[in-house]
Symmetry: C2
Subunit: 341 residues, 2 copies
DNA sequence: CTGTTAGCGCTTTCAC
DNA sequence: GTGAAAGCGCTAACAG
């Protein structure tokens, strides 16, 4: 690989001059010299060695993102889209993504190692939980990072999140507009922070419509098909007149459980029961009926996170310290209405 | 961040000694000094700066992996599992993964840039196609890389691939064992190299069972649901006695199309028609009936690729220059047989 | 057994 | 306008 010395020799100038020209530094260099340097660099195919540049500038131009353990069963439904968006945005901002893995139960040492060795300039933290230890650690270290997801109302840090409350609220509004009055929700455990926002949207939506919450219509469970099954079974055990006519599932996976249980009992989803999921997981479009669901603006979030992090790394104050992005209600067939296309 | 100088000062030795001790170099250092250095390093929390080390050793300890554009519709079904496996294996071997994006139509410049700037020590190339230009380029550059997938029989490079031929062959054997004689296949276009191996397995399997190929039972199409629909429709248009009783789809997505078309026509998959897919995509388990499919040993492949690449980077000859890994037939309900466990 | 020293390739201050 | 030289933090050849 040619180095800056080779270019200097080729152009008949000093390496300092080469550096000035190629980095377009505000240093008075004659147009003639500039041209010679560029020509020489081009000729021998010179590209600056990033390691040397990193050492000099103490910047790795690498952004860290942790790839979480994927349970053999449920491959995460949106992580790949998110990673892709991150990589794209990072490259546009002059970084590359360093993806690493960290054990769920003790992630801190890995983050610490990456910081101490100077591997990365900042982190993008995803899949946050309430009081997320990674976030606590990074705040404490004063190391640049941004988070996809909230963690604790009293902590001050940069984050972007999907507005689950707004999204589920819009889903309720949509169902109410379709004439539904008995709307149920299959939610996550109370411990889930992300879940709590979505649930708040459910409550708020009902209130807006003047519908009193029927406690039987609100059931919590894990993020799996079984939880959907169980919730749906409980609702269908109710006398016909008291059953919900529409269900909002807190995720597509849960929605699938609801759907199969309803069909197992002879109901037709989209006709006898309307159903809305959350995530727009790849399988949502493949279900029959195709699932109406709330799609998170993953690509936009990824891009915005990188921009935010870039500012933080530069020591600037981003225009907004956190932003809530509304999900989009993707209309398909599980509410009995054909999408407009 | 403390540097090697700080450790040297703290321990009262030279920086060279610190380097020797911490890197466990075969340099005679007294046990007493070793202990002092370790203690000093521990005390001030020293971790070697990787950039400086990289510059010195001209090794980035970074492995590049391209994240391909993901169509909004079909999020790739196994890529996230693969990336995770790669990251895990890389870390175990002392690397981190640098994930980047490259335009499908002109990926070379990105690879070139990464090489020229010294960003990565090697590449893992995935989603290969016949005569893959990236592979041609990397061979020509003599830059270390390994490939998940084959590209051209006459090129010599390191690769690991799923043995699609063996897998589909095993699927045919399984169906034959179940008593099927009229076994159809929904394949990809002839241009697909990966597809050609799977197809070869179909032909070989039939031959083993002494079944003559019925040309009507072999239909090619794209990798989407529509292709499955179309193939299935063509088969169901045949007189009942001439229809296939079992179908092997070249991917789970195609299998879904077959399944829906069959059910739309009133057939029950798993009873009237047996169906096997390929990939074990996340949605395969969620279909009703859950899809019997061939699961690629993604995690093993990722780990083996990294090991292979590590050898190549070190300039060693890996024990095997290419390996074929058999997929596993995951028994579910789409062939009318309940899985054992 | 331990220390001195020469770089790795680059950026940037300071001279000229 | 341009160049000499220091130095980012580390490794390793060589001296002592």
């Amino acid at each position: 690989m040619p180095t800056i010395k080779d270019v200097a020799r080729e152009a008949g100038v000093s390496i300092a001059t080469v550096s000035y020209v190629l980095n377009d530094k505000t240093q008075a260099i004659s147009a003639e010299t500039r041209a010679r340097v560029w020509a020489a660099a081009e000729k021998i195919g010179y590209r600056a060695n990033v390691t040397a540049r990193s050492l000099r500038s103490s910047q790795s131009r690498l952004l860290g993102y942790a790839w979480h353990e994927i349970a053999p069963e449920q491959s995460n439904t949106v992580l790949d889209r998110f990673s892709y968006a991150l990589a794209r945005a990072a490259e546009a901002a002059g970084y590359y993504m360093l993806t690493f893995t960290a054990p769920e139960d003790d992630p801190i040492p890995v983050y610490e190692e990456l910081i101490r060795t100077g591997r990365v300039d900042g982190f993008i933290v995803g899949s946050t939980v309430r009081d997320d230890p990674r976030i606590r650690f990074l705040i404490e270290q004063k190391f640049p990072f941004v988070s996809f997801g909230r963690a604790n109302e009293t902590w001050d840090f940069l984050w972007i999140d999907t507005d689950g409350e707004q999204g589920v609220g819009a889903a309720v509004d949509y169902l109410v507009g379709l004439g539904h009055k008995r709307i149920a929700m299959a939610a996550w455990p109370e411990a889930s922070l992300t879940g709590s926002f979505r649930v708040a949207g459910y409550f708020a939506g009902l209130k807006r419509a003047g519908i009193d919450l029927n406690p039987a219509f609100f059931i919590r469970g894990e993020n799996d098909e079984v939880a959907g099954h169980d919730a749906c079974a409980a609702w269908l055990d109710l006398p016909p007149k008291e059953r919900p006519t529409a269900v909002i599932a807190i995720s597509d996976v849960v929605a699938i459980g609801v759907m199969y249980e309803a069909e197992r009992r002879g109901l037709t989803v989209g006709k006898d029961l309307s159903l809305i999921g959350f995530d727009d997981a790849p399988m949502a479009a493949y279900l029959r009926p195709a699932l109406t669901t709330l799609r998170q603006p993953i690509a936009e979030i990824g891009a915005a996170l990188v921009t935010m992090l870039d500012e933080a790394i530069k020591g600037n104050q981003p225009p907004q310290r956190h932003v809530l992005m509304p999900p989009k209600l993707v209309l398909r067939y599980s509410c009995g209405v054909a999408p407009k296309s």
